[in-house]
């Protein structure tokens, strides 16, 4: 299978959030700091990859009629494992993301990939699909977090980076981030629910603009090539 194509699909042309427009609840809810965004993105990436591999491994032995129920059980299993591990070893992330970790179960990305991709493809392809789709999701979360945090609070890397005693990474979510400008001048509204909807809306609009532009370019190029051919003839 062509990994390169899958990579491009996951990150750009078939990005789960920007193009397929699924899994938006968490995208808008938790992207208020880089710490949350990165944590959520990586959690989804891990769960998605594991589920993809398991689903495609058992795809031939599960009966057609109850496949969705089985997918849900497998997904819920992995989500609970990640939830328990986070509670035990990165409690700050667990409390910051709260109910959105168990809610990955109903995140349409995972069940959607299981149904649309893993059912028909080999374990290897599903593994890469999980990684790239997960990366695509993580990238969107990162962009949203960085934009909302920077414009809303004037910091970069909140919770994850601490610069008071030299640059270091904090896994307990205590770092204040790099201060770009004083939080008093930040558009605080961007860190509120309003900002979640608005940022995602604008991000998808930018994506649509870019996709349309590249499609038009291709069209023009094809047209030009065709005309050239006609002239030659």
């Amino acid at each position: 299978m062509n990994i390169k194509k899958q990579f491009k699909e996951g990150l750009i042309t078939n990005n789960p959030v920007l193009v397929q427009q699924i899994g938006m609840c968490a995208t808008m809810a938790i992207t208020t700091s880089l710490f949350n965004g990165l944590g959520m993105g990586l959690s989804v990436l891990i769960i998605l990859t594991c589920c993809n591999v398991v689903v495609s491994a058992i795809r031939k032995i599960i009966p057609e009629e109850i496949r969705l129920a089985i997918f849900v059980v497998v997904i819920a299993g992995f989500v609970t494992i990640v939830d328990l591990l986070l509670q035990a070893f990165i409690p700050a992330l667990s409390s910051a993301l709260g109910v959105f970790i168990p809610l990955i179960v109903v995140n349409c990305i995972i069940i959607g990939r299981a149904e649309a991709f893993c059912q028909k493809n080999t374990v290897g392809a599903s593994f890469f699909d999980g990684i790239f789709q997960g990366l695509g999701y993580t990238c969107v979360l990162l962009i949203m977090s960085i934009v909302r945090e920077l414009l809303g609070k004037g910091t970069f890397g909140g919770g994850l980076i601490d610069v008071t005693e030299g640059l270091r990474f904090t896994l307990d979510g205590s770092g204040a981030g790099i201060k770009i400008f004083s939080g008093e001048y930040g558009a605080k509204i961007l860190t509120m629910p309003f900002g979640g909807f608005l940022t995602l809306g604008v991000l998808i609009a930018v994506m649509q603009y870019a996709l349309k532009k590249s499609a038009r370019k291709k069209e023009l190029a094809a047209k030009a090539a065709k005309e050239e051919k006609e002239v030659e003839e």
């Binding site: 808008m28 809810a29 849900v72 819920a76 168990p102 109903v106 629910p193 309003f194």
Partner: protein
Amino acid sequence: MLFNIISISLGAILINNFIFSQFLGCCPFLGCSNKTDTAFGMGVAVIFVMGMASAICWLIDTYILVPLGLAFLETLAFILIIAALVQLVEMFLKKSVPSLYSALGIYLPLITTNCAVLGVVLLNVQNHYNFIESVVYGITGGIGFLLAIVLFASVRERVQFADYPECFEGFPICLVSAALVALAFMGFSGMQIF
């Protein structure tokens, strides 16, 4: 007790609205809000399932999972209960209340993956609500969802006639208008019963 219930209801409907302040149930919210009447159908179906799910999940959690020390199976158990419940409700309505079934039927299967439903049962556990509080939270959370989706659907019907940049076509303009409705809901955020 009564005070508690009023404060939970007011919180779930207005102040901590499931969609506009907690972001639970955004997928059906954005997907099913093209027309006011579909939005209304979806909202009613959600109230129904959220109330039932809160009650049943509370009972199962309190009397089966917690006493057996199986609290770690909560997420798995809840999602299965919700899926089974939705199926049961669907079959029951089909046989005994066909008129309601024909109105809600198409929305019911969609509700299984509505994160507001799983969200409400998980929040019930997290907030240590008792049985009555859980059911009230479930139902009023559903009412909050209904309010949000109906209001938003009527906004969206107007937006269709608006003149916006081409690249905002479809989802983006929908999200931007949702942002403005969320802004309106922020006005409730200072409300409190003393």
